[in-house]
Symmetry: C2
Subunit: 185 residues, 2 copies
Amino acid sequence: MSLKKKDRLVDTALRLFCRYGYRATGIDTILTEAGVAKMTLYNHFGTKEGLILAALEKRDEEHIAWLASETQTRAGAPEDGLLALFDTLDAWFAGDEFHGCPFLKASGEFDDHNDPVHRAALAHKGHLLALIRELADAAGAPDPARIAGEIYMLVEGATVVAQLTGDRSTAARAKQAAEVLLAAG
Amino acid sequence: MSLKKKDRLVDTALRLFCRYGYRATGIDTILTEAGVAKMTLYNHFGTKEGLILAALEKRDEEHIAWLASETQTRAGAPEDGLLALFDTLDAWFAGDEFHGCPFLKASGEFDDHNDPVHRAALAHKGHLLALIRELADAAGAPDPARIAGEIYMLVEGATVVAQLTGDRSTAARAKQAAEVLLAAG
DNA sequence: ACTATACTATACCGTTTTGTCCAGTTTCGC
DNA sequence: GCGAAACTGGACAAAACGGTATAGTATAGT
């Protein structure tokens, strides 16, 4: 049952990192919560940074996949994808587990651009931008690269504002702005 | 010269907090860098949190004032203020000392909404939104409250992206999006 | 000159941090 | 059942953490 312990470690770590931050979460807390021995952690991940990177990697895959599928089911037609994305964001923000984007949090705590954690955050945002770009392509936008970049910035802004204020109308207001951007082509 | 030491402490702390984060910056580091004794810190601020709050308060006032004046001088006419704000942002992002918004960083590290540090960050963002609202009023926007909210989200998004990627064209691209939002009224 | 205040230097406190070591136990594939 | 691998629990280390205590110095205003 190697996978069980390893996965439990990553899941627990990710949950605590999201809630309390990376530096503020000690490994002893993670170990107690996960019910795993300290050596198991270090055998699997080597260092705390290794655990952070593993957690971010898993989160990257899962979150991008969730955004894509959730948006696809919410969008009736392919050209509605970009706007439906904001409904997906709304669902994300409304969840109990929402404490802001863990990658933005990571880039704030490790803002040296050479830091592996920062690079992992950057990689995730690349995947997010790529997803938005796909939605823009599917929507048949005249200048999909530019639109995607604009929508992406709006998404980041909405995420930050939602975490900062807790305002539940944030995603809806961002969606309104997105509609204007899309209508202008 | 009580003011000198106290101010030096706040300035040094703010600089280090911006660069390395709040939890990652130890008190001893601040003291050494500022050339101040430990008891001086605790006599003035009581706790590390007190120092953090003092630093954020000073930064709030200075940064809002700088944004306002810099934007005013860059804007030719009153109706150009909202767009000129993005030129100001560009100058901010291009500076050597730019390591992201210290208030977003703070809200990431202290994301409990009851935490005094989080509340200080929230207060600053309220002042920022108010500034944008003033610019929207001055520009004679038809629905200034809505426009201000949209521009504000774009500003936060641009700030995050600039810190994450280091891309120097971020503010310019956000400005393009802002132009579209403004043209649509 | 006297006094209040600001400040310094240093030692110290208890806690927490990441990470290591090790001997023993559970669990799994064969 | 056997051997290998995964896992455990606890002791331990060295450093860093925020914060306190103390004793003494510098610098003001009056």
